[in-house]
């Protein structure tokens, strides 16, 4: 199948290096300490952060740092063909773990000893790149909860189809069987914190694709920064003195 037509356009009309439309919104779950919605095209994710709060299960309490937990769940209606999956299947467990480890690396856990931070991500619509969208949503939610972080974490994926590196794969491109590279970076520190790839790629192609994904991450980072800064300014001027 042709994923990039001769004019150089992808199935949904994007150019190979073009990202889908991003949209982020802070404060969607009023009860949570921090929450956010993040959309990448048709992929839509809600993240809610509870904590830092008292550790619920005392045996898990850490005396020198915060306990970070994460649960990823998909709504029944999130995928094209409706499936009712049991909670905690392998894929969800794996993604929960990936998100937890990625976020934990950025949170200054040592500042909140003996406490617990819960990150819940709920996929409302899945159209490729859910992992990335979850991480971006979780970053926004953590920042909204006022949890100190070394740096923002942003994520984006890239793939390689029809001999072209493609940024931010959607579901159709993702399931085409080509390589899919998901990268998470700490933009300020300029470090990669997450790197996952399915399928195989030539070493030099891989570098190109990964570089493309990193560029994507940076674009996401500048968007997220913009939202956070705007939000902070709003909160501050509304509060007044």
């Amino acid at each position: 199948m042709e994923y990039v037509n001769p004019e150089g356009l992808r199935l949904d009309g994007r150019r190979p290096m073009e990202m889908r439309q991003l949209r982020g919104e802070i404060g969607v779950v009023s009860k949570a300490d921090g929450s956010a919605v993040f959309e990448m095209g048709n992929t839509k994710v809600i993240a809610a952060v509870y904590g830092p709060r008292e550790v619920q299960n005392r045996s898990q309490q850490l005396n020198d740092q915060a306990l970070v937990r994460c649960e990823y769940s998909m709504a029944n209606f999130s995928t094209g063909d409706r499936m009712r999956k049991p909670k905690g299947d392998r894929r969800s467990t794996e993604i929960s773990l990936v998100i937890r480890q990625t976020m934990e690396a950025s949170i200054l856990t040592h500042l909140m000893p003996r406490s617990q931070i819960d990150i819940f991500v709920q996929v409302l619509q899945a159209d490729g790149g859910t992992r990335s969208a979850c991480i971006n949503a979780a970053t926004l939610a953590l920042a909204d909860a006022g949890i100190p972080m070394r740096d923002l974490v942003t994520s984006c994926s890239a793939g390689y189809l029809n001999g072209t590196p493609l940024l931010d794969l959607n579901y159709v491109e993702d399931s085409a069987g080509g390589a899919d590279v998901t990268v998470g970076i700490l933009p300020k520190l300029d470090k990669v914190t997450l790197l996952q790839m399915d399928a195989k790629l030539q070493m030099d192609t891989f570098e190109n694709v990964m570089q493309l994904a990193i560029e994507g991450c940076k674009a996401v980072a500048s968007y997220i920064r913009e939202i956070l800064l705007d939000n902070t300014k709003q909160l501050e001027f509304r509060r007044g003195v």
Binding site: L11, D12, G13, R14, E18, R20, Q21, V28, V29, S30, K31, A32, S35, G41, N42, I46, A47, A48, Y50, Q56, E71, S73, A75, N76, F77, S78, T79, G80, D81, R82, R84, K87, G88, D118, F120, V121, Q122, L124, Q125, D127, G128, N170, Y171, V172
Partner: protein, 349 residues
């Protein structure tokens, strides 16, 4: 996706249908989904949804473990006193609802969807239609299944399997109200309108609810969301006809579901509707009634363990009927507003 199944069932009649990819970047296909057959198709699949319902619900609901929202004795007494004096903690009267906020078309991949907010309670409902085989015992009817999920974003205790108990309870309460008796009588959704070829093909409607944030009265919010989602739903009407008048807009059929909640507080002598989490924690029992436009009862569930005098139940039903009329009107106008807004957005994009 939906249509791939047709091939298996109706291979003789159906040749090809466009599969709709969950496309990216470009704005999602507006729902109602217009399914346009390719010009080469000898058959025209024109599409129309048939749900003709009539239900109204009212509901009440006790959430989780009361310890979760433990209130001190003074606060409990304050809530009870408020109910007795007809002035609840947020200033509402016993039979006043919180403002309801409806948004339709939130899940573009679904046949219909809606999001409803009442105070801090926030739920999403989606309707998906798939082709399936009718149940041999009811060959002339389609099938509807309802599932509710409680997201841990709403309440950390819903993590893992923590939300399952509540999910089951909500699902079965909604099923009871929407699906009617086993014969299909009194259902909120007219199952026979979902039939395509008797005994062979019918629509399977999957109604999924998701609780995103909870602050009491989740059941009512879900009911309202399902009603809004159904009125937002357009299902292809499958016709075996040869001409291709494909640019005809599919018609959206509305099911007249209404839901309304009804609680009794622990005080016992007064009833309240649309309880917040705190009020729910004080309810010893509650009655959820679903009432349709004609004022008939289409489902009832008692919630909470404490016993109630039968006359009290009948009394609550009559109060519920009274409140339901107002709620139906309120919801109707909210849904109409949401759909107008939804259409505006589509035109803009």
């Amino acid at each position: 996706m939906i249509f791939s199944k047709v091939k298996g069932v109706l291979a003789d009649e159906v040749l090809d249908l466009p599969t709709q990819c969950p496309s990216s970047r470009t704005p999602p296909p507006p729902s109602p989904v217009t399914v346009q057959p390719p010009a080469s198709s000898p058959l025209d699949f024109e599409v129309r949804l048939g749900i003709a319902g009539k239900v109204v619900k009212r509901y009440s609901f006790l959430i989780g473990d009361p310890l979760m929202v433990g209130l001190s004795f003074g606060e409990k007494n304050f809530i009870k006193g408020g109910i007795a004096h007809d002035l609840r903690t947020d200033g509402r009267k016993r039979l006043t609802y919180r403002p309801i906020f409806v948004e339709t078309g939130v899940i573009p991949q679904a046949s219909g969807s809606a999001r409803v907010k009442m105070g801090a309670t926030d739920v999403i409902a989606s309707v998906k239609a798939e082709l399936g085989k009718p149940n041999p015992s009811h060959p002339d009817k389609g099938k509807v299944s309802i599932y509710v999920d409680c997201s841990p974003t709403a309440e950390p205790t819903f993590e893992g399997r923590g939300g399952e108990e509540l999910s089951t309870e909500l699902s079965s309460a909604l099923q009871r109200c929407l699906l009617g008796g086993k014969s299909g009588a009194g259902a909120g959704i007219d199952l026979s309108s979902l039939s395509i070829v008797e005994g062979k093909v019918c629509w399977d409607l999957y109604i999924d609810g998701l609780v995103v944030s909870s602050d009491g009265n989740v059941l009512d919010a879900l009911g309202a969301a399902i009603k809004a989602a159904l009125s937002n739903t357009a299902i292809p009407k499958v016709q075996v006809a040869a001409n291709a008048s494909s640019d005809e807009q599919p018609e959206v059929d509305v099911s007249d579901e209404e839901f309304l909640q009804f609680d009794t507080s622990g005080v016992g002598r007064h009833y309240i509707v649309d309880a917040t989490t705190e009020e729910e924690s004080q309810m010893s029992s509650a009655i959820s009634v679903s009432i349709n436009r004609q004022g008939r009862i289409c489902g009832l569930t008692k919630r909470g363990g404490a016993g109630l005098d039968p006359s009290v139940i009948l009394d609550m039903i009559s109060v519920g009927k009274h409140v339901s009329e107002q709620l139906i009107n309120k919801l109707d106008s909210e849904i109409a507003a949401a759909e107008a807004c939804d259409e505006d957005n589509e035109m803009d994009s």
